[in-house]
Amino acid sequence: MKYVDEFRDPALIRKTADEIARLIERDRHYRIMEVCGGHTFSIYRFGLQRLLPENIELVHGPGCPVCVLPMGRMDDGLAIAARPEVIFTAFGDVMRVPGRRGTPLEMRAKGADVRMVYSPLDALKLAMENPDRQIVFFAVGFETTAPSTALTLLRARSLNVDNFSVFCNHVLILPAIRAILDSPDMRIDGFIGPGHVSTVIGARPYEFIAREYGKPVVISGFEPLDLLQSILMLIKQLNQGRAEVENQYARVVPWDGNRPALRALAEVFAVRPFFEWRGLGFISQSALRLRDEFAAWDAEARFSVPGVRVTDPKAAQCGEVLKGVLPPNRCKLFGRECTPEHPVGALMVSSEGACAAYYHYVHAMVTAGD
């Protein structure tokens, strides 16, 4: 398909990698964070780190909404799922995220009515087909996903579907980046900006990173050539002492984002004063809740949720890995107590969490070579 094949062209990939190698200053260390878990996944999948000189270090950021979801929220959601009148719906990845009493899949095995959906619109359809049940959609995701939840809620209102509600865990990427930038042990030189989030919010909102923190940002696509081009653009900025927001992914990311989607977000959601991120702690203004006008479709208002708080074990070093202070395999628990089968910390939970991605691709390669 056009726009896919050309961004995997080995000759172009090689050429871009060579240009990066030619441009880097030998005695300089470049620490670049890819904010988005999809980028982390592509970097490991295509082995991009191997194409880069050693003094370019890629640090994996907080961009996996399942990974940053506190276990307490999962427990709250599962408390709703356990109610006999409820059909609990969620995206596939959420199905394997453990709360203290197990995962949604395990709850299903114990008799709860838990179903995977590909879109919140499918959950709404389920509600219309099952008027005697309560259908709850467990919403997670950044600004990429929140518009589809918003659209679903707007439709639920206009169609008057009163047996549908949303348990909202939507989070915002910019406050998380700011939290990383503000942390005292921050050592990132530049950012690969998220691609799909930016189709919705645009490139402009990242300007504060360049202006206030003096760090360059390049919004990137997900193919190998996209990522290498973005890294090249960052290296050029850093070498020239520039800090700007550039858009490598202009084929889908408009500078000002998607206006109809932003309008829907503003109509349906308000910003929570604060929200807990696994690994990063409480971040103010970092998540969305349903506006009061939509309280009738808010699962948190409809069902009394326990409001559980669960803290991660002290030895888990997710925060340091998230901020780029430690590579995943230097966490004391990595690959021993904490594995994808038995995740202790946030970043091991989804396949795109920094630790899980590292475990699958690097760790597996190393142990296979033993």
């Binding site: 056009k2 878990g37 990845d93 995701g141 990429t144 996903t145 084929r251 989607a261």
Partner: protein
């Protein structure tokens, strides 16, 4: 792990007779996915416009689905859309690329 889940999801959706949305991007093992998105975003070409802000689209592996185009109202037959959880969130723009 992801591929297993996808298999399960598709089986389940097939058995429940839910929408064909699930199949989109299904057989392309190479993801245009972004975990930031909790789901994946897939490029798909518009085959036909349907009522109620919907479009029939086809992805690069030939899978078809009905998607909501409320956020890309300018979409026309032949356009390439970026589809995320059953909703088009962007239209590919050749001029900008």
């Amino acid at each position: 792990m992801r591929r297993t889940m996808k298999g399960e999801t598709r089986e389940r959706i097939a058995s429940e007779g839910a929408s064909d949305r699930a199949s989109l991007g299904g057989s392309d093992s190479t993801p245009l996915r972004c975990v930031t998105c909790r789901d994946e975003a897939v490029l798909a070409t518009v085959l036909a416009l349907r009522e109620a802000h919907q479009a029939l689209v086809e992805d690069c592996s030939g899978q078809r689905a009905l998607v909501a185009i409320d956020f890309t109202p300018e979409a026309r037959v032949g356009d390439i859309l970026l589809v995320h959880s059953g909703v088009a969130i962007a239209r590919l723009d050749e001029e900008r690329s």
